[in-house]
């Protein structure tokens, strides 16, 4: 009896081992470029793939069986602050960054910690909006993580020990970093936060092996460079244009696509007359040199704090009978855009929430403005509000149905502004906002499915309150989301019908669920508040 049992155990273990061949020890650029594999064995870059589609090929969990999901384990951070991270997974190990620059390697089978890293942070940080981090990148045997005091770290994947530590900029001058890096070939791409602190933003590339800076692209052109004249006087020096949300990459064009933050001071128009390039824009930058290939400015001379730091999503679509390489972008300013990613030209732009500041986007790509939407001390009411029609929480794209999904916000605000004085390291916004609500300007949220070839809405699922959750779709026709009341949700991605929900007690905020296979079972991992919870169908 004992011998037979032993035999079964040995056979069972071999079967598991056979099904899960250990991957090569070192993560290769090729592996990253392949995106999400059909066997579900990894999720090793921010958006699942360079396209940022967040669309998994996995089909074990379906609209028919998703109701049967059961929790496998829950991990608690034991730190103050909430997750905004996209966890990475490879070879059954999760690599997770948390608030306050704490990070972990966890056993994906059990949620048990393998190592923990914690950075000693100064107590005079200038990070504007929470001590958060949005995730790791990986290459070789290293993980890459930015820090709130504006450094980029390389950690040893096996131990969490520091390999190198590169300084992006001096945090005392208002710089911080919260972005999830991406690795392109042998370089780590990051950006600087601090748009509310009078910084001059940039995108940086560092050699993954050494931490040496390879190039820097300033998101505000310097004197003599094209675009510098879009900033009156010296306003370019403190114009913000931060980079705190991860971009996309097209290997064929060798272009990086990054959304750029708001111009600063955020609300005070007269402090920085002009279009304020490349604030509130999408830039396409050569991945080897950091040279600008093209830009498209969504909101010229933004005065509502509408960073264009939403996640750009790449796809190849047929539009009007023509194959097009596009970048899809739902902007904080309330418009959804499909752009030609080879040249930045606009293919279509339509509002996806109530917008009162612009009537439409003109043929020249510039918004056709409505009067009365420049804030002053007396206040002016504009839709969307400061947080915007959407924000940094990732959208998703299902290529099989050619549908772009976004968690949209319907909200308006009274914007105020006044002239601020710049002081290094201090907040430099020149205004503020007060939520405005009326019968014609209600506050709510909705998950919206948009046809990127027309900009038309296919369906929506309404929330009581605006959601700040990112999205994940699967090839089985599911979309995972969260509301602003602590529920994680699964819906039919073709119809918008709610199929499953669970009250997590904290919001899925600024990030999405991810999915992968462990021992032949599809797992859905949900970061919410201070917990990670893994779900799967019963064995």
């Amino acid at each position: 009896m004992r011998a037979r049992l032993l035999c079964l155990v040995v056979i069972g273990s071999s079967a598991i081992l056979a099904a899960q061949q250990a991957p090569p020890a070192l993560v290769t650029p090729q592996e990253i470029a392949e995106g999400l594999p059909k066997d579900g064995s990894r999720w090793i870059t921010f958006g699942g793939s360079y396209t940022n589609q967040r669309h998994s090929p996995l089909t074990q969990i379906t609209p028919a069986n998703v109701k049967g999901l059961v929790p496998q384990w829950t991990f608690q951070t034991g730190t103050l602050g909430n997750f905004e991270t996209t966890p990475l997974v490879r070879d059954n190990i999760l690599y997770v960054t948390g608030p306050q620059n704490v990070a972990w390697a966890l056993d994906a089978r059990t949620g048990r910690q393998i190592w923990r890293y914690r950075r000693e942070l100064p107590n005079d940080l200038t990070a504007c909006c929470g001590l958060v981090n949005r995730g790791f990148a990986m290459l070789g045997d290293k993980l890459f993580m930015v820090t709130l005091d504006a450094h980029l770290l390389a950690l040893d994947m096996r131990t969490g020990a520091i390999v190198w530590d590169a300084t992006l900029e001096q945090y005392k001058n208002g710089y911080a970093s919260t972005i999830a890096p991406i690795v392109v070939k042998d370089k780590v791409i990051v950006g600087a936060a601090g748009g509310e602190f009078g910084i001059r933003g940039f995108i940086d590339a560092y050699e993954a092996q050494t931490g040496k800076r390879a190039w820097r692209f300033y998101t505000i052109p310097g004197p003599g460079e094209p675009g510098n004249d879009t900033w009156a006087g010296d306003s370019w020096k403190t114009g913000g244009a931060s980079v705190w949300v991860t971009g996309a990459y097209d290997p064929d064009l060798n272009l990086l696509y990054y959304g750029i933050g708001n111009p600063g001071p955020d609300y005070h128009s007269e402090s920085r007359l002009g279009d304020n390039l490349y604030a509130a824009s999408l830039v396409a930058v050569d991945a080897d040199t950091g040279k600008l290939r093209w830009h498209y400015q969504f909101t010229p001379h933004d005065v509502h704090d509408w960073d264009s730091t939403e996640v750009p999503v790449l796809a190849d679509l047929t539009i009007a009978g023509q194959p097009r390489k596009v970048v899809m972008f739902a902007n904080r300013n309330g418009f959804y855009y499909t752009l030609d990613r080879t040249n930045g030209r606009i293919i279509l732009a339509k509002p996806f929430v109530q917008t009162t500041w612009a009537r439409e986007i003109g043929r020249d790509g510039r918004p056709v403005l409505e009067a009365g939407h420049t804030p002053d001390e007396n206040g002016e009411i504009t839709c969307p509000d400061i947080t915007g029609g959407t924000n940094f929480w990732p959208p998703t794209f299902d290529p099989s149905t050619r549908t772009f999904f976004v968690n949209a916000r319907e909200a308006c605000m009274t914007f105020y502004s006044w002239k601020p004085d710049y002081k290094a390291g201090e907040r430099f916004t020149g205004g503020a906002g007060q939520r405005y609500k009326s019968a014609t300007m209600p506050v709510y949220g909705a998950l919206r499915a948009i046809d990127p070839t027309t900009g038309e809405r296919k369906w929506e699922f309404k929330y009581l309150n605006p959601s700040t959750s990112g999205l994940l779709t699967t090839a089985s026709g599911l979309i995972f989301s969260g509301d602003n009341d602590g529920n994680v949700l699964a819906l039919d991605s073709r119809k918008g019908t709610l199929l499953w929900r669970y009250q997590m007690g904290a919001n899925l905020h600024g990030t999405s669920a991810i999915t992968y296979m462990v021992d032949g079972r599809q797992h859905v991992l949900v970061p919410a508040g201070t917990t990670l919870t893994a779900w799967a169908l019963p064995q």
């Binding site: 001390e377 002239k419 503020a432 009341d485 529920n487």
Partner: protein, 265 residues
């Protein structure tokens, strides 16, 4: 973002909470009379304070703060109140407000400052208490005694101006505080549940009913859930409370400045 925290600014005049401000603020506002600072302060005040204190600072959900200097408050005391908030009240701390921004708000408020109005002193608090007990105590609580369906009034005299109290009692103010939205739940079978909403998401609602039972309900199990746009508090017109009795009632409410629940052995 912290819109909610920024929006709920109330009751910052009367009590200076225990100071947790690291360094003592300057005794005198360095920006007083500075026109640029006043302009910035006006914007800051309107965006962060006016929701509760009103655009003219004469009080809405929070108290009238135009007479704070006339009532003897000092610049540094007010600075500390803005910075730290008042524990146990709706007045939140403002940890992200820079020192100069706090002074700018005060510089603007100083331009609205009024001399102390002669307190009307009308009304008899003792009689007011009787009127309160006859009409209000079923729903409101004072110093641990009374109903729970409506907001606790133990420090209402410190948190609301006379004008706002009068408007609220007479039914001239619409709306309700969070947690007091009236709701009627109609189950598939049995009697309707009438109460106030304590919380809600897409799938469930948590209610205190008129018998003060707190209970959660699955929306899928309800036939209907109806939100009432008007406050659960009925208007008390002059046919129910005369002008003279209203003076007495408000006089009594103005004596309610806070409840100390500590037990002295």
């Amino acid at each position: 973002m912290t819109w909610r925290a920024l929006g709920v600014v109330a009751g910052w005049v009367i009590i200076v909470g225990a100071s947790t401000y690291a360094q003592a603020p300057a005794a005198k506002n360095p920006f007083e009379g500075d026109q640029n600072a006043i302009k910035s302060g006006m914007g800051l005040f309107r965006a962060r304070c006016a929701d509760c204190h009103g655009m003219d600072a004469r009080g809405v959900r929070g108290p009238d703060i135009t007479q704070v200097w006339a009532s003897g408050r000092t610049d540094d005391g007010l600075f500390t109140t803005i910075k730290n908030g008042i524990a146990g009240t709706e007045m939140p701390a403002q940890p992200r407000l820079f020192e100069h921004e706090t002074w700018q708000i005060l510089a603007y408020l100083k331009t609205l400052a009024a001399s102390a109005r002669p307190d009307p002193q009308r009304g008899n608090a003792e009689n007011g208490k009787k009127i309160y007990q006859a009409n209000c105590v079923g729903c409101h609580r004072v110093n641990g005694v009374g109903g729970r369906l409506g907001p606790d009034l133990s420090r209402i005299g410190a948190a609301r101006s006379r004008e706002v109290l009068e408007l609220r009692i007479r039914g001239g103010v619409e709306g309700f505080l969070p947690g007091y939205e009236p709701v009627t739940l109609t189950p598939q079978e049995g009697q309707a549940v009438i109460g106030v909403k304590k919380n809600e998401d897409l799938f469930s609602v948590q209610v205190m009913d008129t018998r003060e039972r707190i209970q959660g309900y699955d929306k899928a199990m309800l036939k209907e859930m109806q939100n009432n746009p008007r406050s659960a508090m009925p208007p008390f017109g002059s046919n129910r409370i005369s002008e003279s009795d209203l003076d007495d009632l408000i006089r009594y409410l103005q004596t309610l400045r806070g409840f100390d629940p500590s037990v002295v052995q």
